[in-house]
Assembly symmetry: C2
Homo-oligomer: 447 residues x 2
């Protein structure tokens, strides 16, 4: 029975106590080693890697952040690098290679055996973010005529080298996928039965060129832990395992949240991204929004005469902007998330429109009344209070409908609906809100 | 080999062709049936349920949205309801019961066998959103002294009734968790070896009272498909399977996105939530923000004299608000997501502060220069252009730092950092932005 201990890795490295460090490290799970070395500088990470077993080293290396991987590739001795690259799982290796510059990719590929090299190149040929990029070919393949007993023997023999043995693939001579067999059904079965009698004959699968989101949806829908991946002729390429899908789900949510905040997406964790990189991801959006927003200045400048005679009107510009933006942000977040989870489909736009018109009206009425009373604190003219509260109601109804429909519009033009949230929506809604506000006020308050 | 067909369920129900419908439905996966009946009204859903096998019915019913479940509970004949409730998985049953009113819960509990009732009540005793609520006790339990052969026999015998057989639990007489055993290791092992020789002796687990997010983190970290759940004395209660965790990950992301849009959270899908319910989830936030925002009006009213003499100043109020809000939204989304994924911890606040001061300065300088030139289109006074662009830079630096640090502040006060994003942050930043703007302008442009 093991117990938890505190380990001062930095101290052990600095005091040169590598024997202890080696013994302790080799008992750890890769995920724990990853955590232990996260804050070490690259030259100390290298020391740790030297003490790991080959497979451990490959697993830990696979899970490192991209900037650490780059740094270590440059620091490893060639022999060690060769070992690690060849021991990595094919899908992890592809993930690493797709981000590296071509000359490094070529060097790393030269370390692989001819079969591994061919395999890696074929995976790299699938589009980015496709299901094919997540494939591992390390699955157990059965023939339909095998008996359960023969199949189990094959699992016993080949299993230790495979990524999973819990879902087995049944294929014919041309590698066409005929079915899948759950290991549990194989174990519960009469040993003399044939694989084709106990297999699932209509297995769900994805094509290698399908988006990884589709793979995630299918695995969620059918509660799968393994999903077969086939080529255009439905020949088996390999499998995707649920742990990769869990990462995809997290990645997609991160991507949505970043897009909803109007910025370029970045998958590496915050402290592993250079400030310059964030600057580049964020600035273009802010500049674009600053330019879109310039409409506001021109609108307000046109109504300068009203402002000059009634400067209190300016005091409610922020109210229109904030409340309009807030209303729109709420509904757009709901719709975008609903679309991401496939609960809202493009054809549903009119149902959303009806529902949100109703909700928008109720919210607008309530907020209008509240603002009427609130505005009395600033202006003693009931006429102004009334005009301001009517304007707010119009802005709220408008923002609610626009916030609800913009994601659909994006979807029609094949733009990610998530882009239509937060800052982007707020800026659009503000422009209209200010126009509505000044028009309403200038109508209701003839100067 | 099966082929895909289009099925007009509504047509079959209306024409009374139940025999065909029954034959076809019984061949479908629960997830597919769910999709097929999603848009049927409750009284037609009932017809479909009548045609399903008991286990199928229980699985489909488990996955229905809450409003449909309620409707069906009222429509089912007592016998059918009893069958479905007793056949449901314990964790699905708990999820249903936790949302129902007490009198319905009591009725449903009375349909269960005494053991199932006790089990369900004990699960319901765990806190909401705890790991315990996801537990299923349907796992295979082994003793350490069993041989691999005996263990495999037990799996064969008990397996068909269990939720999974891929990770087996090893416990002692007091049910204390001693280890876990992967089915693959059991199969690959010498049949005469003892379970204790081949089991994982330091299994990861959660306590039933831990938050479900903790369970999700552990399963992600170690790529598990099954996680043991224990009580305070480390006695085994049951297991959590990865499909439930996938749902948790989606739910948590939905919750974060809704909180980031400043509204109450709701887990049901958009079309299964009544307009009134959304109104209630959204309105309180909008009202609170409308009241917080009232500070803006008072600040602007104080500077009325500047506006009366220089109404063009009002034209840049939206610029300060939008750009400040946009900058703050970007960084708060990054930090909140980083915290949710555990990549950013509370102790890291000063590192974030340093990094974001640097990034904020660069963004502020760039946007300031752009606004200087843009403002020339509205005002011919270079003095105004300069004042406006300085004010924007200050607002941007401020928003970036506040957007970065508010999630930490929330975290200290045990508030979900996600609340500190989007509308909430924008409103706060706007209040400060407007104060900064008018102070800067009134300093640089002595009236």
């Amino acid at each position: 029975m093991k117990v938890k201990v505190q380990l001062d890795i930095k101290g052990l490295i600095e005091s040169g106590n590598f024997r202890t460090l080696k013994t302790v490290l080799q008992q750890q799970e890769p995920a724990d080693i990853l955590e232990l070395i996260d804050e070490l500088p690259p030259d100390e990470k290298i020391v740790v890697f030297r003490l790991l077993q080959k497979d451990q080293a490959a697993l830990v290396f696979s899970e490192l952040e991209y900037d650490d991987q780059i740094a270590l590739i440059n620091l490893f001795k060639e022999e060690r690098l060769r070992e690690i690259i060849s021991s990595m799982d094919p899908d992890d290796r592809t993930e690493l290679l797709e981000e590296l510059p071509a000359n490094v990719v070529n060097r790393l590929l030269s370390y692989l055996s001819p079969e591994d090299r061919e395999l890696t190149l074929s995976i790299l040929n699938f589009p980015e973010n496709s299901a094919g990029r997540l494939v591992t070919p390390k699955c157990v393949e059965l023939k339909p005529q095998m008996t359960a007993n023969e199949a189990l023997e094959k699992v016993r023999k080949e299993g230790p080298d495979k990524e999973t043995v819990y879902t087995l693939m049944v294929i014919d001579e041309t590698r066409k996928l005929l079915g899948t067999l759950e290991l549990r059904d194989l174990i519960f079965s009469d040993p003399s039965k044939h694989v084709e009698e106990i297999m699932e004959t209509e297995p769900v699968f994805v094509h290698a060129t399908d988006d990884q989101e589709k793979a995630a949806e299918i695995m969620k829908k059918y509660d799968l832990i393994v999903l077969p991946v086939v080529d255009n002729e439905e020949r088996l390429i390999g499998i995707i395992t649920v742990d990769d899908i869990v990462d995809v789900i997290d990645e997609e949510a991160t991507e949505d949240i970043q897009r909803m905040a109007s910025m370029g997406t970045t998958y590496n964790s915050y402290f592993h991204v250079k400030p310059w990189h964030f600057f580049v991801k964020r600035l273009p959006w802010l500049v674009a929004l600053l330019l879109i927003e310039s409409v506001n200045g021109n609108v307000i400048a046109r109504f300068e005469h009203i402002l000059a005679s009634l400067p209190v009107i300016a005091a409610f510009i922020p109210t229109m902007m904030d409340t309009g933006g807030n209303t729109g942000s709420q509904i757009s977040a709901l719709i975008i998330r609903g679309m991401a989870l496939n609960e809202i489909k493009l054809k549903d736009w009119w149902k959303v429109l009806l529902k949100e018109t109703l909700i928008g009206l109720s919210i607008a009425a309530t907020l209008g009344v509240i603002l009427f009373f609130r505005s009395m604190l600033i202006s003693s003219s009931l006429q102004i209070c009334f005009a301001v509260s009517v304007a707010l109601s119009v802005v709220v109804i408008f923002s609610n409908v626009v916030g609800a429909l913009l994601p659909f519009a994006a979807s029609i033009f094949k733009v990610d609906p998530a882009v239509m949230a937060g800052p982007f929506l707020t800026t659009i809604v503000d422009v209209f809100g200010i126009i509505v506000y000044f028009l309403t006020v200038s109508q209701l308050l003839p100067a």
